[in-house]
């Protein structure tokens, strides 16, 4: 797959680990799982384990193996704690 632009935002523990609130990525990652691995390369502090993450694509929950399209807004969701 060729690279396409993706919009990444980080919240909570991921924001602190990455050291920023998000980034633009040009990525060939097939799915969110691969994208997170790429981001961990780019942000060495991003050590939160992938198997405990959920992901949202364009503000909706998606699965880590769902395909990503150019321009998708991707947010990795660490364990939530509302209420």
């Amino acid at each position: 797959m060729s690279s396409r632009p993706l919009h990444i935002r980080f919240f909570a523990i991921l924001r602190e680990q990455a050291g920023c609130t998000g980034c633009e990525a040009s990525s060939a990652a097939a799915d969110a799982q691969q994208l997170y691995a790429e981001l961990q390369q780019r942000f060495p502090g991003l050590t939160f384990p992938a198997h405990l993450l959920r992901v949202s694509v364009n503000e909706r929950y998606a699965t880590m193996d769902a395909p990503l399209a150019a321009g998708d807004r991707v947010v990795f969701i660490p364990p939530i704690a509302g209420g």
């Binding site: 935002r9 919240f11 523990i13 969701i77 509302g82």
Partner: protein, 489 residues
């Protein structure tokens, strides 16, 4: 209505927004910041939200709750920013006519917020340390999971490996009624990782005596949504999906494909044939049950099974079968659907774990009135329009209209011998049977086969269900002389 705010929550003002003359109840839940967590003192909390998505999820949650509990009006406000001890972090108010729906709706909103609202909180401790709640590896790894399943994993046949197989499994429950409710509840408790409930119906008061996932608060609610919410309360660690619609020819393949096992918990033949054929085409094991009054039957159809549903019913139209056999509106002894639904759960767990003996070549008949269980060999009908054909595709044909005779058809067949299958303690005088009927023991299939050598036989019994099941099983064996006799209601 759902709102996010970074300013302190004023409860009185929110309560006033739910004032309504028709509301006999205002149920309020306030989530507050407490001064301790997991044994450590806490001095303040910081809440952070993914605003756009939290707003979308919150709107959807409020709409879903108002549909689950018809007649309720929900207002929910969630704080963000820095909060001190005692501050309100979330405020949920439900205006309703009566208390039951109010309490239930309030509970639903807070449980779902904790499950899906993208909001995080960071705890600050007196020593200056701070950490994101649930984000330490230990806390995130399903607290208490080992203890939840301890008595199950202690079974040598299950163990940790079996529990992992259940967690990885996907099960589809078609029909969330008398069978589907207990079946799904036990599958959820056992830790089946992903359960999808399919039902387009709404909860009715007349469902409640047997449909144990629902209470009077859910009357009018979509069954799939209400059932899913109840299963999540039972086991928060599993993923439950609600499909608020019936299985149809258009969606059956998509719903069934990829499932580990499918449970047929429907109450009509149109749906039974549909789910059966979809499972057969997709190669997915099907655990099927049906109940009439005090009796039920259980079949497991899977690759390697003897025969299929069409062998037994042999091309008879679903409409005709529903006319005599549907349990959608008839009287039901609640424990009968309970026992059969739980047996479906048991067979499903055995299939998933690969343990025990799953009978792929027998039909199990359960009678709660006399406490008996019969396992009858199931024959594959060589001329079956589905499994007898090389391509295995359904080809509805004229089939076997004689399998179940009406009393009018019986009168037109003067040489037929009427045989009443009697349970222990029953006699021919126990119920009204046609003149000239003879009685034999219900489990004496050898005697029925003998009688069929000498002429046509019409089988009946007190309810007419077990006799009809035995008749179609014997006909599938090739005994075309054996008929069922439908009991007039």
């Amino acid at each position: 209505m759902f709102e996010l705010t970074n300013t302190p929550i004023e409860a009185a003002a929110l309560r006033a927004r739910l004032d309504a003359p028709e509301a006999g109840a205002l149920t309020v839940f306030e989530g507050r910041v407490r001064n301790h967590h997991l044994g450590r003192p806490v001095v303040k909390l910081e809440y952070e939200a993914f605003d756009e998505m939290a707003q979308r999820e919150g709107d959807a949650l409020v709409a879903e709750t108002e549909s689950l509990y018809p007649g309720t009006r929900v207002l929910c406000v969630h704080r963000t920013g820095s909060l001190g001890i005692g501050d309100i972090a979330v405020w949920i108010g439900v205006a309703s006519a009566h208390r039951a729906a109010g309490f239930a709706a309030c509970r639903h909103v807070i449980e779902e917020i904790k499950r899906r609202l993208p909001v995080w909180k960071k705890e600050h401790h007196p020593d200056g340390a701070a950490e994101w709640v649930n984000c330490t590896t230990e806390a995130a790894a399903q607290p208490g999971a080992d203890e939840y399943y301890a008595r199950q994993t202690a079974l040598p046949e299950v163990g940790a490996a079996g529990q992992a197989r259940l967690a990885a499994a996907r099960v589809l429950v078609v029909g969330v009624g008398g069978l589907g409710c207990p079946a799904a509840l036990y599958l959820a408790g056992a830790g089946v990782g992903r359960i999808t409930l399919v039902d387009g119906g709404r909860v009715e008061r007349s469902n409640l005596h047997r449909q144990i996932l629902f209470t009077p608060a859910e009357i009018g609610a979509p069954k799939a949504l209400a059932g899913a919410a109840r299963l999540r309360l039972h086991n928060p660690a599993i993923e439950v999906t609600a499909h608020d619609g019936n299985l149809t020819p258009a969606n059956a393949t998509a719903l069934v494909t990829g499932q580990s096992v499918v449970l047929d918990c429907t109450d009509n033949f149109t749906a039974r044939f549909l789910v059966h054929d979809a499972c057969r085409a997709a190669g997915v094991p099907l655990v099927s049950a049906a109940v009439h009054r005090y009796e039920g039957e259980l079949n497991v159809f899977a690759p390697g099974a003897t025969g299929c549903l069409h062998c037994q019913w042999s091309g008879q139209g679903a409409d005709a079968l529903d006319a005599v056999g549907s349990c959608a509106t008839g009287p039901v002894f609640a424990p009968a659907v309970g026992v059969l639904g739980i047996q479906q759960a048991a067979e499903t767990l055995k299939l998933l774990l690969g343990i025990g003996e799953v009978a792929l070549n027998r039909t199990r008949l359960v009678n709660l009135l006399d406490g008996t269980t019969l396992a009858i060999e199931r024959a594959a009908r060589p001329t079956c329009p589905v499994c007898g054909r090389p391509d295995g595709r359904a080809a509805p044909t004229g089939g076997d209209p004689a399998a179940l005779l009406t009393e009018e058809q019986l009168a037109a067949l003067p040489s037929v011998r009427v045989v009443v299958l009697l349970e222990p303690g029953e006699s021919l005088a126990s119920a009204r049977y046609p003149a000239g009927a003879i009685g034999i023991s219900a489990s004496d299939l050898v005697r029925i086969r003998e009688l069929a050598q000498h002429g046509p036989v019409a089988l009946t019994c007190r309810a007419g269900i077990r006799s009809a099941a035995i008749a179609r099983l014997l006909r599938a064996e090739g005994l075309a002389n054996v008929h069922g006799l439908s009991r007039s209601r």
